[in-house]
Symmetry: C2
Subunit: 271 residues, 2 copies
DNA sequence: AAGTGGTCTAGACCACTGT
DNA sequence: CAGTGGTCTAGACCACTTA
């Protein structure tokens, strides 16, 4: 488990010395202090994938209520330092994976190990905001392709691709088979178009129930919502709304997609 | 205040009918249900800028503990629907502002009303991760320019720009005046370089204490951290770490920066 | 069945904002 | 000063995973 060299008054969470641990008085909130202490312990005393003591235990060690401890863990999870799974425990998260979103080709496989997995294709009326981007009447039906993006086998994003019928004129009527087969043919037709440009926007959101399920997270988990407008032949050919796991992903843009950045210095693997 | 047309069993939060409001039994968590109800009420019954009943009052109306209500409000704030200020109250947030980050010119003022406000320039050793991006020894000192980005007068981002001495060779030694004056001259020197390319990454984080203060948020508030690597003359000339308010900002990339998108359909202003 | 994290309660006090 | 949101407590029960 590696005790490492701790500097200060040694607020040890990896040791057996329980109860003696006290938070010295501070003007700042306890959970903030706690987060800092835990963060340092994570750097020095724990390996990636290692499982932490359970919440009741940790709370007792630090002499705080479980709710307070959880506030600290919540933040660390938000920052991608921890991963919590109900019924299992809290583990030290690996550094975030860089996920390229700026590459021009629409279905590009991205870095090695990156895939889009076509889910299905239905017909539906897009949300008002998407309809506006597409420049169609709110209420007009469009093709909706559902895809899942995998990196190293792990799902990192769930996407809804809104494709107006006008963008894929050579396709049979919307009804027919609504499975992955149709999804793929819609994508194939789309890629025939020459892309003029793409606009992209990123914002913070919380996962809808369906997305959460596919991303293996609880509903409401923080996500990065990437909205992309694909412009071809002078008009908006499609709009994509992709929901990326905020805890595990670092979205990369630009010419050479700088992967290989690690935010957390001390990396070791759990035994 | 506008009562609007509510569809379902009328879970009214804007009315005087208190106490009668009950959450019907559901397999999903209360706070999730609550969030949905509040979200709909926000769309139909409230105007932007309007102030909501206080938390104790709302909790009572819905027959839940305050902590549970707060869990719902937390999510709505995360999604940018609400703004809470201690000592004041909870108000309905305006739609997120689109903030352009993809434009090529480094100090570009962006959309009308957009400014970078130079703060100061100190000398320091960058974090290990930045040092790696810059390709310098960890421990080597660089210029650190602090800037604040304003949109329509509101601060939206706090930036730290790391500039190795090698990138601005014509500048006097690092000591001299560490104020905004030096910051501006560093920026001026930087812009002399011809930019080859930029790599950019976006990830979720929580605001450090100093950034939080400048962004008028509490420490730990959710932020979007944009890390940019500026490449000039074949090497990394500078690295910028910009911290954007996640609640108020939608980061836009690409050719034409699609502003004017509103996620929230019914927009009215508070009286 | 035992152990984990997730939800929820009913209080309390604190820090900050306005008047 | 009164009123707001922010923090904190000490419990309880639930949903889920694993053995």
């Amino acid at each position: 488990m590696n005790k490492g060299a701790k500097s200060r008054g040694d607020t040890a969470i990896a040791e057996d010395r329980v109860g003696t641990t006290q938070l010295e008085s501070a003007p700042e909130p306890k959970y903030w202090h706690l987060k800092t202490v835990l963060s340092e312990a994570l750097d020095s005393d724990f390996a990636v994938g290692e499982i932490l003591p359970n919440e009741r235990e940790l709370a007792a060690r630090f002499g705080v209520a479980r709710a307070t401890l959880r506030q600290a863990l919540d933040q660390l999870e938000l920052e991608g330092r921890l991963q919590r799974r109900r019924g299992v425990g809290t583990t030290v998260a690996p550094p975030r994976v860089g996920v390229a979103v700026g590459t021009s080709q629409h279905d590009w496989p991205g870095a090695p190990g990156d895939t889009w997995q076509a889910g299905g294709c239905t017909s539906a009326t897009p949300p008002a905001m998407v309809a506006r981007l597409l420049g169609i009447e709110p209420g007009e039906e469009v093709n909706v392709v559902r895809r899942l993006r995998l990196t190293h086998g792990q799902p990192v994003a769930a996407e809804l691709l809104y494709v107006p019928v006008g963008s894929v004129p050579d396709l049979p009527a919307i009804d027919s088979p609504s499975g992955p087969a149709r999804a793929r043919s819609v994508l194939r037709e789309l890629q025939r178009l020459e892309l003029d440009s793409q606009d992209r926007a990123v914002e913070l959101g919380s996962a809808r129930a369906d997305d959460a399920k596919e991303l293996d997270r609880l509903p409401g988990a923080p996500v990065l919502v990437v909205t992309t407008r694909y412009v071809a032949e002078g008009r908006t050919a499609a709009v994509s709304v992709a929901t990326y796991r905020a805890d595990t992903c670092r979205l990369t843009f630009g010419d050479s997609g700088n992967v290989e950045i690690s935010h957390h210095p001390h990396e070791r693997r759990a035994s």
